[in-house]
Amino acid sequence: MALELSKDAIGIIGCIALMMLVIMGVRVYVAAALVGLVGIVSLIGWSAGAGMVGTIPHSKSVNYTLSVLPLFILIGYLAYHAGMTQSLFEAAKRWLGWMPGGLAIATIFAVAGFSAVSGAATAASAVFARVAIPEMLKANYDKRLAAGVVAAGGTLDSLIPPSAIMVVYAIIVEASIGKLLIAGFIPGFVSALTYCLIVFAWSFWNPAVAMPIRGYTWGQRFASLPGTLPMIGVVLIIFASMLLGWATPTEAGALGAFVVLVAALLNRMKLVQLNDALLETAKLTVMIFAIIWGILIFVRFLGFAGVPERFSEWVVGLPFPPWVIIVGILGVYLVLGCFMDAIGMLLLTLPVFFPAVMKLGYDPIWFGIVVVKMCGVCLLTPPIGLSCFVVAAVRRDIPLSDVFKGALPFVLADFLAIAIFIAWPELITWLPDQMLN
């Protein structure tokens, strides 16, 4: 007797199978495509099902809107050769050093700026662990604070354009890429402010930290700016193009990449280095696209099985206020983020979570920013907060446990920022609503 399964049962079995495969260590794109393929075939038959699955990789990847992604990634790899890390730190010191805890605050902004453009929080932390920590220790800073700001500053990158993870979110939930890129600004700024508050509080307890760096003239301040132009240029080009509707995200990405390329060439990038940067760009691009089409095969299956609607109905029927459910979902990300890359985590969960969150009445842009912010927090939390591991690997004299302790106040600041975003969603939605179309 053939076993007849209901659509619901097939959908649930599919979700469990995907979870098991991922835990077993199967590549996420393979696991998602496999479960999607088997699921679709079991629902609509072999030739119709497999035939349809065969069209998805091409039809879902080859789309003008998605072409911004390789360009943002290219900006990141070229940024390494633009020679701007020292200049960013120097400029941040001259402009922000007068505040209490000036060196730490300058470090936060320099790391955030470099990681925004390079698109790699952990790599930015590694570089500034070399550039900024020695200076802070020379000024008698607490080791834990010095390590904490370097690890934490890098996690602001995902909110500031060019942010690949923001584009990935927009693609999978079909939101406007331009609006998301714009929406990250105010939350990024609020997050930086909460980080500064932590430094102020720390300097209140430890006067050595409080020592401001004064004595820079305005001339010296402006003289420090040219070196930071590639970074400021890229962010401004993307921000202005989106806000004023001058260019599409792809066009803005192309202009941004070109600016960084010119900076890298002026900094004498060699052909070998360009080849390497392009190979790395191709590698990261194919990684992200493989997981996008893999997940979209799985999403097609979920749609046939009706899983997202069922899950949404269940979530809406729960006897909790919506914000409790949001906090619950963020809790899931906090745990998952300990074991997985942010992009993989978002793509695996959003197809099911996102429709439910929409049904609760939240704004797609708002949810995107909150979720992306949460992914940053995961880089700072034990057991495998990679940013902290990287700082400890660069600075053999600062034990990993001290780095985690130094990062802890910034994790609390992140939670505070997320609470602010949940309480005042207009902070996120206001700016994108001002966009000209």
Partner: protein, 220 residues
């Protein structure tokens, strides 16, 4: 998104037949990835040309969006085998990192077998998808560029990935038979500590290069 450098598997000679086959395929993979990489470079130049042409000369690139869409297949698929060889595709390593010896080889082997099934099925049906476009003569809307070459990139890239997975299958079978042998022709499995150590090394090189460039500027 780690930027740490990995050793190039085309270097060296050891590993017998498996090592030789691995290196030959990786050379091909590297070429196709470079095509993808320079394609992304071209996408950048095309975008700059398009924007400048539109703003200052009222002469945008004809059929820009069509051209970008036709290019894209080359940019986002061709490096798939290369990335597999270098362990660049996302996976959850939580459980895998606890495993050792024969059990680890077994899990990796199952992973590879599942990937072979998926890649074979999707590869075959993406081929029929491309052949349909070829026989029907599909083309893009504005610039009327034929669509079959773009669609054909998918089965070609997946065929290269299939070959790569066959080599992995051989490599993990070899480890399953005798787990004491050194792993060859497969991606390295890195713990978070090891990843962090490589990232630290990469940053050292970068900071040194910047210091060098800065002192060279001062000397002038």
């Amino acid at each position: 998104m780690a930027h740490a450098e990995f050793s190039d598997p085309t270097d060296g000679t050891g590993g017998g037949a498996l090592g030789a086959v691995d290196r030959s395929l990786h050379r091909i993979e590297k070429v196709t990835s470079l095509i993808a990489g320079y394609g992304i470079f071209a996408l950048m130049m095309l975008g700059v040309w398009h924007v400048i042409g539109r703003k200052f000369f009222s002469a945008p690139v004809f059929g820009y969006i069509d051209v970008v869409e036709v290019m894209m297949a080359f940019l986002v698929f061709l490096a798939i085998g290369y990335t597999e060889r270098l362990g660049g595709h996302i996976r959850m390593e939580l459980l895998i990192l606890f495993l050792k010896g024969r059990l680890l080889a077994l899990f990796e082997l199952v992973s590879v077998l599942l990937a072979l099934v998926v890649v074979a099925v999707i590869g075959y049906f993406s081929w029929t998808h491309a052949m349909r476009a070829y026989t029907l003569g599909d083309s893009s809307i504005d610039a009327e560029i034929p669509l079959w070459p773009s669609k054909m990139v998918v089965p070609v890239a997946l065929a290269l990935l299939f070959l790569r997975l066959l080599i992995s299958l051989w490599a993990y079978l070899r480890l399953l038979v005798d787990p004491t042998r050194a792993a060859i022709a497969v991606p390295e499995l890195l713990s978070p500590e090891e990843q962090a150590r490589r990232e630290a090394e990469a940053s050292a090189a970068l900071v040194e290069a910047e210091m060098g460039a800065a002192s060279a500027r001062e000397a002038r």
